[in-house]
């Protein structure tokens, strides 16, 4: 066929000639994200929170969870920067250890619910028909029940069944993903419904590509921006829900610390009025994490979500 190319007129000059601008959509998005100060601040706070919680305890001399009656309820001092609690344990160390649990639960339940939600949503949107009906009606059912009472009931059942405290953390992850996936599945399904009608999907059909190739090579990459945004916003919600559950004593059980059950431990008038070092640090951590995650997620949505383009 080389005879053909010789006779063809030279094509128009490619736009992509300037090497410095030869960028993918991802690089463009990253550049715009870096310019968004609020989002970057959020991102940095989240990163710091993870770093401190996961690395911090390694440098603490108080990681043994031992009870020291002599050190009960000491206010912040040079040996214990955030004071000690009713059992003489170092609050700073416990806040960091709690952060490990809370952030892990948040992250893991986010991964699980985004995975579940996007898989089910994509199947429902792409194949339509009976699969769509079944998946979305189950999702609707879960959405009609307010999630907090649902979690309370499930949490209460856990206590009833005497699930060992070490395993509660994993159960809480599953619970949170279980109530979170329908919302995600709805968003993903909506996006897939509109994507599958796009011309490039028809073009892929016309090229005779298999359904699997179309779903994974053509549809899924177009969903990634949406999924990243959903995921980032979801972490904050999961951290918050875990704290709420633990606060009500339905989530992770003491002595395993989480931010929620640390606040719960200070849930009496004397602690509240006279020992603020017991509840302000975990409360601040929840607050800072959720705000930072949401700011970062909003920033991500601004640069990645095609429907929000300026």
């Amino acid at each position: 066929m080389s005879a053909i190319s010789g006779g063809l007129p030279a094509a128009d000059t490619p736009i992509a000639r300037k090497e410095s601008v030869r960028t993918s959509l991802w690089a463009l998005a990253l550049r715009r994200l870096l310019q968004n100060k609020l989002a970057m601040a959020g991102g940095i706070v989240v990163a710091l929170m993870f770093a401190i919680c996961f690395i911090g305890p390694l440098f603490s001399p108080y990681t043994d969870n031992k009870i020291h009656m002599a050190l009960m309820n000491k206010p912040p001092n040079w040996k214990h920067w955030l004071g000690t609690d009713a059992l003489g344990r170092d609050v700073l160390t416990r806040v960091m250890q709690a952060g490990r649990i809370s952030l892990t639960v948040g992250l893991a339940s986010m991964v699980l619910s985004v995975f579940l939600g996007s898989l089910l949503g994509a199947i429902a949107g792409y194949y339509r028909g009976i699969a769509d009906q079944i998946i979305m009606r189950i999702g609707d059912l879960l959405l009609t029940v307010p999630s907090l009472p649902l979690l309370f009931i499930l949490g209460a059942l856990l206590s009833e069944w005497k699930v060992p405290p070490e395993d509660r953390m994993y159960i809480v992850m599953l619970l949170l993903s279980f109530v979170n996936w329908p919302g995600i599945a709805r968003m993903v399904r909506g996006e897939v419904l509109s994507l599958r009608e796009r011309e490039f999907m028809q073009a892929a059909t016309v090229l005779g590509l298999s359904a699997r190739r179309k779903l994974f090579r053509h549809l899924l990459p177009n969903l990634v921006p949406l999924l990243i945004v959903i995921a980032s916003l979801n972490i904050g919600g999961a951290v918050l829900s875990e704290s709420v559950l633990s606060f009500f004593g339905l989530g992770v059980m003491p002595p395993t610390p989480t931010w929620g059950n640390m606040i719960d431990a200070a849930n009496n008038l004397i602690d509240f009025q006279q020992r603020p070092w017991l509840w302000i640090p975990p409360g601040f951590c929840i607050f800072a994490t959720v705000i930072a995650v949401n700011l970062f997620g909003d920033g991500l949505r601004d640069v990645l979500d095609p429907k929000q383009k300026r």
Binding site: M1, L8, A11, V206, L207, P221, N222
Partner: protein, 327 residues
Amino acid sequence: MRDLLTIENLRTHFFAPEGTIKAVDGVSLRVREGETVCIVGESGCGKSITALSVMGLAAGSSGKVVGGRIEFDGRNLLELDKNELRTLRGHEIAMIFQEPMSSLNPVLPVGEQIMEPLIEHLKLGKKAARARAIELIAQVGIARPEQIANAYPHELSGGMLQRIMIAAAISCSPKLLIADEPTTALDVTIQAQILDMLRRFKAESNMSILLITHDLGVVAEMADYVVVMYAGKVVEEGEVTELFSHPKHPYTKGLLRSKPILNHRQDELYAIPGQVPNPLELTVSCYFHDRCGQCMDVCRSREPRLREAGERHRVACWLYEEAVAYV
């Protein structure tokens, strides 16, 4: 020349809440090996639906092929199962669309999109497919194919994207290329290059082309045989030279008159009066009657049949029916 694609009495209908829309109603046409057939008509006359029916894409939530035969290379496409149809698409029948900008996936480099049919149909490995894709990009007249293969659609111009679409379409050397208004979205200089390229590929590989267009200039340049469609029916068909020099149907004549002629300044360009009839309100008649300057009584109440009007030239109009005398 052997018949490659034969469409017989194809009827594709859409079922809307307001009634049945007969988008394609009894269309027959034939594409022979190495021949370019053009379907011409206004927007909404059913030419794209005819093409999509061949690809098996007209049947959707509301549309359905309700009758007829589509025979391609000895097989009835309407009887093939999904998988057989899929292996045919992109391999033996390829199609390109009007809007190259939206027909390519925005998040995949264009090279990979050309590689896909090669991997899917010809079972090439990744490396071989990539080498072939770069070759194809060069063949469609794009300079520096290695770099362009890594470019994303938003980095290329409309003309280049249409070349990429063509490269993907011809990658598996299809026997038939369906081109649905391939140059409508492009500017005129690029149009000429694209058409030129299609012609070269056709001559080179004995590929047949079913070209859908409303641009008579494109028809004159490309077609061997022309099919004029109006409101879901074929009103006239014939060899391109015959049809352009001796148009019979008043609609064809109107179309030819409404085409501007170079170096021939007119105060007002002719336009066929009226609009395409609402497909829901069609009654048995010649559908063109209310826009026709030579409308007779019979045109309002009876439908003309497609009759021979010369060598390879057929027309559906009461003006050419001897039977009119007896009606």
